[in-house]
Amino acid sequence: MGGYSMPDASGHFGPYGGRFVAETLVTALEALERAYHEAQQDPGFRAELHSELRQFVGRPNPLCHAERLSRELGGAQIYLKREDLNHTGAHKINNAVGQALLARRMGKKRVIAETGAGQHGVATATVATRYGLKCLVYMGEEDIRRQSSNVYRMRLLGAEVVAVGGGTRTLKDAMNEAMRDWVTHVDSTFYVIGTVAGPHPYPTMVREFHRVIGDETRAQCLELTGRLPDCLIACVGGGSNAMGLFYPFIADPAVRLIGVEAGGLGLSTGRHAAPLTTGRPGVLHGNRTYLMEDEDGQILPTHSISAGLDYPGVGPEHAYLKDTGRAEYVVATDAEALTAFHRLCRTEGIIPALETAHALAHAIRLAPAMRSDQTIVVNLSGRGDKDIHTVASLEGIHL
């Protein structure tokens, strides 16, 4: 895997990715691609991004040894990459800062975003306010119901939150609506996509804005353990936190990369959000990737306890890493994620996001079978404050 250089010039990761959009958006995507490449080459832009990540986001965040959890499991040492300690409480802000700085550089006055759990919406609302941009966030009605505190947070930050009532009223429908908005206001508006999916250049650009996760992890792991980790584990909805962690390790074949999809109520029930595990390649939201679709190519409704994983597609680079065998993809069910959620609360004093709890669930499965001198890094992609109402109500507690 040495010399990994995906995507190609037209934004394809092998057969995946690409640019499948309405004609009106093609010119805007070409302009975005040019602006992004120029910004990348510009030391001034890179310095500004670096400074914002330090001053405003709070990077670098620690790689933290989960000592009690590791001891209880009796196998590999588990380290947590603390993206939950970023400002706004999740990894999403890395990308939001990058894209908002790019929007400002391109002279756009208005940013829009889609959001599922609300973390990307909050991150976008936050940076929009900081950079003086008008912000509008599309969110499915179902997600608004289950993530009400994040909705209020976005409104406090001055963003307009628009409820999306079409389709399944979740993340995919919010993304459809954001695309419709962008087509309509393409000249004035920058679309801040929140994951490593969408039309080229988004999957690459979002990966690059998140690779700081993997770059820091690499240096911190060498410092703490004297060698690279044996295994990286991250949850995968669209797959941005996983891609950010994995990317700097792709050319190190000894490092196992494991993405954990939402197994929902169990794969056999059909009520899950695991396109890499159960789906097949198709085209949605501007890219070719694995999708949950029926035999007629209609996109299937998904289910996950975590709104942030409740999406029928996945970033095209994950599709490529799956096919090439470089990364492995497994699932954790709602129940397994909940168990892992509680376990981290009780062993490490950290309340993880329900999305993140899926990655923890797999680490808990895997660690006992590994040696105690081996290391697993779990991307602790977000904190769980936003999920306490969901968890409490499952236990019959009304907060």
Binding site: A22, V26, V186
Partner: protein
């Protein structure tokens, strides 16, 4: 000569634009679809654009989204849509049928199977909204090999390079999206649109159809003065959605399309 080329040649001689109403296959009911297609043709439609329902129609406004959702809820599948075209063709050999939809359901069927079945059913053109010329080279060739025109879109944002690409790959006609927006929107600047249409007709050497935001006979007349074809979609779909019975849908469609057909027939072309 293909039905589409035949139509545009004939209308060129007649000195008028084509009227192309859009309806979603399977809406307002399964049983209304073929009778409605015949009614549109009888009321003066020169060609018919038939929507292939998709669960995630990103380029469509609320009216066509809901029509798509209703059709899918009734169990509409791509093979059923092709079956309706075949049924229509049994008694109508002359009205071109253009299918409009999104790539994923076509890929799920298999592009080759789709192209063969569509050709056998009597489909004349296919518009896949999310398939750009860059990504759609293979699909365009597969359709053309079976006598179906791949219809590409151009938009107000499309620059000269994109016009050249569509010129080299498209056939039948080119669909000009009149505005920055989704179907059913209403903010087109018609002076600007018609200027662009004049330029495109010259640059492309293909007929230019104009759609998005055309909701009434007056606008149809205005666009018909410059364009080769005028597409009316959401305005018809909205009226059909209100109909309680197939018979009512046929009456409503007939009345509406007759008025639009009158508008294209009484509008003289500004340019030949």
């Amino acid at each position: 000569m293909s039905r589409l080329t035949g139509l545009f040649t004939q209308l060129q001689d007649a000195g008028r634009a084509a009227l192309v109403p859009f309806m979603t296959a399977g809406d307002p009911s399964l049983t209304a679809t073929v009778p409605l297609m015949h009614a549109l043709a009888a009321a003066g439609a020169d060609a018919i654009e038939l929507g292939m329902p998709f669960s995630d129609p990103m380029a469509d406004g609320p009216s066509i989204q809901r029509a798509s959702e209703r059709a899918l809820a009734r169990g509409v599948k791509l093979r059923m849509v092709l079956g309706w075209v075949r049924e229509f063709r049994m008694t109508n050999r002359h009205t071109p049928i253009i299918l409009m939809g999104y790539l994923n359901p076509v890929e799920a069927m298999g592009v080759i199977s789709f192209a063969e079945a569509a050709a056998a059913a009597g489909v004349d053109g296919v518009i896949l909204v999310d398939l750009t010329p860059e990504e759609g080279r293979g699909e365009a060739t597969l359709l053309q090999q079976r006598g179906i025109d791949p219809i590409f879109l151009l938009a107000p944002t499309s620059g000269p390079e994109r016009v050249a690409r569509v010129r080299s790959m498209g056939s039948g006609f080119v669909y000009y999206v009149s505005l920055r927006g989704i179907t059913g929107a209403t903010s087109a600047d018609w002076v600007e649109v018609l200027q662009r249409v004049r330029d495109l007709r010259r640059q492309l050497g293909l007929p230019v159809a104009v759609g998005f935001g055309i909701r009434d006979a007056a606008t149809v007349a205005r666009v018909a003065a410059e364009a080769d074809a005028v597409v009316v979609g959401s305005a018809l779909v909205e009226q059909l959605a209100e109909c309680a019975t197939d018979q009512e849908a046929i009456q409503v469609a007939t009345r509406f399309v007759q008025a639009l057909a009158e508008a294209v027939r009484t509008t003289e072309r500004v340019c030949a």
